[in-house]
């Protein structure tokens, strides 16, 4: 398995992580590590184990075997489905989770997050009445409340239109530049190529590739073709 571009100052990683659900093996001895400020894309076909890996890294699930290495104190988690209360307003959601995160200045944090997500003009609207894209922005804002060292995003751009996606990736890139390590899973391999420093290719719970997008392309015409060819060569 290629392992190009590893960083030395590891902030989060996995060491032989496996996860079983009954007879099904969702993850098989997955190992990697990420450095500060890195953007890692986790890609793979449906059922590859992307969400399972992210949920183990976030602490929601325990691995059946192996361990998560160098877990920082605060890990931001942005699940695929918005994990916010639809009957609360945008500001109320951010305020609630800011309080639960024991953020020092709650109101200043709420204002900053509304600014970051460009939702200040929708602050009083119920989340349930927002579009899917705006709901996802609230979801991300809540994930960032603890000013985490590591941010985990599970298919964050799924419900967003192209303009919102662009804003999202600009925002994520700015976080990474600030030293936040960002993991994201995506089905859009083009996003992985454009916005990730490294890609982790998972298939049937097995980590098949760990390296920069350029290393996966090789002599293929584009990243998506290279990705499909790579999986095909390995029997997936």
């Amino acid at each position: 398995m290629p392992t190009i571009g590893r960083v030395t100052s590891a902030t989060l990683g996995a060491e032989g992580v496996s996860k079983r659900f009954g007879d099904r093996e969702a993850l098989r001895e997955v190992s990697f590590s990420a450095g500060a400020g890195e953007r890692l894309a986790i890609i793979g076909p449906n059922g590859a184990g992307k969400t399972t890996l992210l949920s183990i890294l976030s602490g929601i699930q325990e691995p059946t075997a192996g361990r998560v290495t160098h877990p920082p104190e605060v890990i931001g988690w942005v699940p695929q489905q918005p994990a916010v209360y639809s009957k609360l307003s945008v500001a109320e959601n951010i305020r609630l989770f800011a309080r639960l995160e024991n953020v020092p200045d709650v109101e200043a944090t709420v204002a900053r997050m509304l600014e970051l997500t460009s939702l200040a003009d929708r602050a009083g609207d119920e989340v349930g009445k927002l579009s899917g894209g705006n709901r996802q922005r609230v979801n991300i804002a809540v994930g960032l409340l603890g000013e985490p060292d590591v941010l985990l995003l599970d298919e964050p751009s799924t419900a967003l239109d192209p303009r919102q996606r662009e804003l999202l990736w600009d925002f994520i890139s700015s976080l990474a530049h600030g030293g936040t390590t960002v993991f994201f899973s995506t089905h859009n391999v083009g996003e992985a190529e454009r916005y990730a420093d490294r890609v982790l290719v998972l298939a049937d719970g097995e980590l098949l590739f760990d390296g920069p997008p350029a290393a996966l392309i090789g002599d293929q015409r584009d990243f998506e073709a290279a990705f499909v060819s790579f999986l095909h060569e390995r029997g997936h």
């Binding site: 929601i60 988690w77 489905q81 918005p82 994990a83 639809s86 995160e101």
Partner: protein
């Protein structure tokens, strides 16, 4: 349409848990209800005190000796008697719930019964029946049951009296000698009178009269009329030789109705709230975010149960205030009633959270809550001891496992000054138990 039916059947076949639950639910419910109906109050559990001294239990009815103890045993055979030596001991059994009522056969009943049958005047024979008037459903059922049993005993005595009355009628018809109240009577009898009159008629010339014979006929007519008067009185005593003196031990007025209304309202409010609040965390996908170090699963269980319970208690307080304003509850009982409402609400809230934890979806939680609560409420309103055998044990077990019955009794105790600490302890234990169940369910909740 058949394709839609086939599709639905396929879906049902692939939902064995739901199908199994519905099947088990309907079977268990049908069994419990049928047991309760089939084994109705045929043998109510009633404390009995027989005050008749063993050597004073008999009296004579004509040539026959009647043993009142035998009559009493006949009465006891129709109930599930809980023997007590004294009235005080019997009353304790009623207060403790061991018996539904207390039936006392007074020491003077043989004399009174003999007097009634021998037409010597005096008070009619009666038994004393004590029962608690705290639960109108129970007291109605118990009154009905004991009156039925007394009617059985009266019927048995009536058969003996009827036989004796038949002998008197025989004297009137055929004549003979008998004694009543120490006086001997020689009765001609209607048949003899008829023969005499016919004989006199045959011997007398037209227009002549035999004064002595006619006088005898007149005397008989007079005596026959008196005997008929006696028969009327005797027949009256045959109908209800034994009367029942009903004595209410306590009267809580509308406390039972108030407690029942409160318990039902609290149960639905708190359980549905608790179940919905927890299931909503999962439906909003927020549960996973919350338990990632923000709060513990135990905190979530406690918070949901507390919130559901406190909101229910607020609703309960409002209902209590209305009941007090309308005179259905006493203002002096409000503090204890409120305490009972609060603890009951917390137990209901914990039950709701457990249901929410197991079902994991708001709609499923609401459906399961209603499916569970309706039969629990019905069974909780069946007075203990009014059904017998396995049905009573099953109902008692269900009532002990769910907070409805303890809440009903607790609120009632709060309104009437009953045994509140025991009810509160029961409700607290249930709250803890359901809280634990909810916490276990949250292990696979996300």
């Amino acid at each position: 349409m058949r394709w839609l039916i086939l599709k639905d059947l396929q879906i049902l076949r692939r939902s064995p848990l739901i199908l199994g639950l519905l099947l088990v639910y309907s079977v268990v419910l049908a069994l419990v209800v049928s047991q309760a109906v089939d084994r109705g109050p045929s043998k109510p559990r009633i404390a009995v005190v027989n005050e008749i001294p063993p050597d004073a239990a008999t009296f004579d009815l004509g040539p026959e000796e009647i043993d009142v103890n035998e009559v009493a045993e006949e009465l006891f055979r129709s109930i599930d008697p809980v023997r007590a030596k004294t009235r005080e001991e019997g009353l304790e059994k009623v207060e403790s719930g061991e018996a539904l009522g207390l039936l006392v056969v007074p020491a003077d009943i043989p004399q009174k019964l003999a007097g009634a049958i021998q037409l010597s005047g005096g008070d009619p024979p009666s038994v004393d029946f004590y029962y608690e008037d705290d639960n109108p459903l129970k007291s109605t059922q118990v009154q009905s049951a004991i009156k039925s049993r007394i009617a059985d005993a009266n019927r048995a005595i009536s058969q003996k009296i009827t036989a004796e009355a038949g002998k008197y009628l025989g004297f009137i018809l055929r004549g003979g000698s008998f004694s009543v109240l120490g006086q001997s009577f020689d009765v001609l009898g209607l048949e003899n009178a008829e023969r005499i009159v016919r004989a006199v008629q045959a011997t007398l010339p037209a227009g002549s009269d035999n004064r002595a014979a006619l006088e005898r006929v007149r005397s008989f007519a007079d005596l026959a009329a008196q005997n008929l008067d006696l028969s009327e009185e005797l027949l009256n005593s045959i109908g209800t030789p034994i009367r029942v003196n009903e004595r209410k031990l306590s009267s809580s007025g509308n406390a039972f109705y108030s407690a029942a209304a409160l318990a039902v309202s609290l149960m639905f409010v708190c359980v549905l709230l608790g179940a919905g609040l927890l299931a909503l965390e999962r439906e909003e996908n927020a549960f996973g975010r919350l338990v990632r170090g923000l709060v513990t699963r135990t905190t979530i269980v406690v918070q949901k149960a507390l919130l559901a319970g406190l909101l229910g208690a607020v609703a309960g307080a409002v209902i209590l205030a209305v009941l007090t304003a309308t005179g259905s509850a006493e203002a002096s009982d409000l503090p204890t009633a409120l305490l009972a409402v609060l603890v009951a609400s917390l137990a209901f809230g914990a039950l709701g959270v457990a249901i929410g934890g197991v079902t994991r979806e708001v709609r499923a939680a609401s459906l399961v809550a209603v499916l569970v609560l309706l039969p629990v409420a019905v069974l909780g309103l069946i007075p203990s001891g009014t059904v017998s055998g396995a049905a009573d044990d099953t109902i008692a077990a269900i009532n002990a496992l769910f907070p409805f019955r303890p809440a009903l009794r607790g609120i009632e105790s709060g309104l009437t000054g009953g045994d509140l600490p025991a009810r509160l302890a029961h409700l607290s234990a249930l709250a803890l138990g359901y809280g634990l169940l909810a916490r276990i369910a949250l292990r696979r909740f996300a």
